[in-house]
Symmetry: C2
């Protein structure tokens, strides 16, 4: 009964002409996410964040989670039209309010071992007609309210994952010249390819893919570089690395010892910049979608780690507001290496979704550093972290700086350089 209902709803929401094979692939995707992504444990509680339009997929996730022995699946749904209604009719008080009581309860539960899975398929242009000032106020309130949750993630207190879910609006933004159904179908195909769903055993294929990233990560860590140097059109950037930082990538081991894949898909090996040791200029190589708005053509200059000038050809106002969030918003929290030969890169699609686009090219992120990049990060005081060069901020926004025209060198502790990537590929 549940199954027949699910199928009807799938046809209704995803595509009236949807083939049986799509349903099967969607179910395989759900299984991959539960077993290969979040890796839910028997006896563990699962919390899912999703949009109401994703309900049919959430049902498949719920089924797989219970089959894997989950104690409970708790879903917190958002709804894009309701978000717009709030911006249209909410008072100033409403716009600056975030339900901290709920975020705290959620954070406590994750601290106590619940797994958290975010299903993500937002319309990249959702907020294009909303006053960016309101969006910034609301975004900051939301980030402040969910600090406990963010800390739980940074400190890897439990297994968590974020996975993509195409919506019609997202697909149409990516393929503006296609019919809606075809756009959606193309985007789903890309998602299934990038996440190894079409392989004979998706979970095994996924784990092998992650293992390959992890061996690249281990090689980089063995080199013990003091900095990475990016050089390309409009870019000459030296990213000093935080003291005692380690590159991460592929799967992670949480504090309680559960192995999970925080991002599905993933292609990157990423490290922690030193918040005071970034120097030079950098140009973005792809547009990004931030808070429902497009930002493109970013040009930024850093001195002693901090942004000293920044502009964007498109969405400059959003960029400026981001940088004004707090002191840490003007410094780097992540630097990541991705080869052009990655599946996401080979899909040759501008996904307008960081989860995907950050896996198509090398990138940096302004804002919060990631706990995965430092041994013992979770047990350090904020002062200890800062001394090592770890950045602290309410935001973490990735943007692409790699392309087949950008070269990357590693700078050894002795000061010599070693070629790492040439024309977008590992040397």
């Amino acid at each position: 009964m549940a199954h027949s209902g699910t199928t009807d709803c799938l046809r209704l929401i995803y595509n009236p002409d949807m083939s049986a094979s799509f349903e099967e692939r969607l179910h395989r995707y759900a299984r991959l996410v539960i077993l290969g992504g979040i890796n839910i444990q028997s006896g563990q509680e699962l919390i899912i964040g999703a949009d109401v339009a994703e309900t049919p997929f959430v049902r498949l996730l719920t089924e797989e989670a219970y089959k894997a022995g989950a104690t409970n699946v708790f879903v917190i749904y958002s709804d894009e039209p309701s978000t717009l209604i709030r911006y249209a009719h909410g008072s100033d008080q409403a716009i600056s309010y975030a339900p901290k009581w709920f975020a705290d309860a959620l954070g406590s539960r994750v601290e106590n071992g619940a797994a958290y899975l975010r299903v993500f398929g937002s319309n990249p242009a959702l907020l294009k007609d909303v006053d960016p000032k309101k969006v910034a106020i609301s975004g900051k309130a939301g980030a402040e309210a969910s600090k406990k949750m963010q800390d739980a993630f940074s400190n890897m207190l439990s297994n968590f994952a974020i996975v993509g879910h195409p919506s019609t609006a997202w697909a149409q933004a990516v393929f503006p010249d296609e019919r809606a159904e075809l756009a959606l179908s193309r985007l789903w195909n890309a998602v299934f390819t990038c996440t190894y769903v079409d392989e004979e055993d998706p979970v095994q294929a996924w784990n092998e893919h992650c293992a390959a990233i992890e061996s690249r990560r281990d090689l980089l860590n063995a080199k013990n570089f003091q900095a990475l140097h990016f050089e390309g059109p409009g870019t000459d950037l030296r990213v000093g690395l935080a003291e005692g930082q380690r590159f991460a990538g592929g799967r992670v081991v949480t504090r309680p010892g559960i192995i999970c894949s925080p991002n599905v898909p993933t292609e990157e090996v990423f490290g922690m910049p030193h918040k005071d040791k970034v120097e030079g200029v950098v140009h973005s190589t792809k547009p990004l979608s931030v808070r429902g708005r497009m930002v493109d053509g970013i040009e930024m200059e850093f001195q002693k780690g901090a942004v000293v000038s920044a502009k964007a050809k498109q969405g400059d106002e959003v960029l400026q507001r981001l940088l004004e969030t707090d002191e840490g918003a003007r410094r780097l929290g992540e630097v990541a290496l991705v080869p052009n030969s990655s599946r996401v890169s080979k899909a040759d699609i501008l996904f307008l979704n960081t989860l995907y686009d950050e896996n198509a090219a090398c990138h940096i992120a302004i804002g919060q550093a990631l706990g995965e990049n430092m041994e013992g990060y979770g047990k350090m005081t904020p002062e200890e972290r800062a001394t090592r060069g770890a950045n602290d901020s309410l935001i973490h926004v990735d943007w692409m700086i790699g392309s087949d025209q950008v070269d990357i060198d590693g700078v050894t502790q002795a000061g010599s350089t070693e070629p790492l990537m040439r024309s977008g590929e590992w040397v």
Copy 2:
């Protein structure tokens, strides 16, 4: 943009042929619920509990709440197919688990002034193929977990309301011989009629209707009866009233002084039985839907307030499990008077939904007493409440005992009787 999205979704979910007038009526209903039902205050937070299938209506509620000055609208969605998936694939541990961490957070928020609105349109037969033992275990766990929330309601700490929302499954259960769309349309028409949505000014009409109930309530309270006596086919029941109880009905005033209508629709004037002073036999006059199962033909005998024998022609197992919940499940927590001339009764529909059916006939409820029926209830200790005769239980289940063949008398403190209802109408 929000509006056009909402409209598309309304057409999709409610009825592809839906007329513009339906949309308008649905919006009027949302306005009535926000202004006449929950009566949201400017600066107040609203928490809505709803099913994902009710999203389009929730959007209208959200719009009206923000227009009325709500600080935030937080929606917690349930999903019927996911409920079945849980029963089908959840372990024993999963079935006996309820997320108390969330219920507590919700309860605390309501204690601190958030309004709570429940949108209710469950499929009455949802759980018909699920093991009743599992349903009972899960139901008890859920009730125990949400005790804080229930106490907040009983003590009227904030404004709350429960309102109906027809679903296709509910409509088809009510009108099994109709086409799905026609069944849904008939049920919506009944909902709009019973809630005064088709009146020129629904909020004003609603408030006038409530005022009429309130004057009946005040008259009953002035009589200061010690008991009510029900007599009809298979029924000879004397319901002693709790000490210091007062009849309630219509709107209530919460502890912070907000006037709200806890039930939309409402037709009843209800009082608090004395948990030790119910004597005699009683037959149900309508079936009811409990935990997704039909229960019909109840015959119950009381001595000194407690059930000494009980059986149901249909759904007896569910009834027995209900009675086994705790000691208070075998005693009465409510007795209510409803005239046959009420709009709900005149609709002449077996709604299979207590919110509606309890407004079509006089009824009693086994389980928890209602704080509205006793002055100062919220400040009393459990012992003080028990001394007055207020019943305590995890459940509160209403069932119908009135019809045009049942007469009701009031028993004065001096022991004489006064006719209250004859053939289902107020004398």
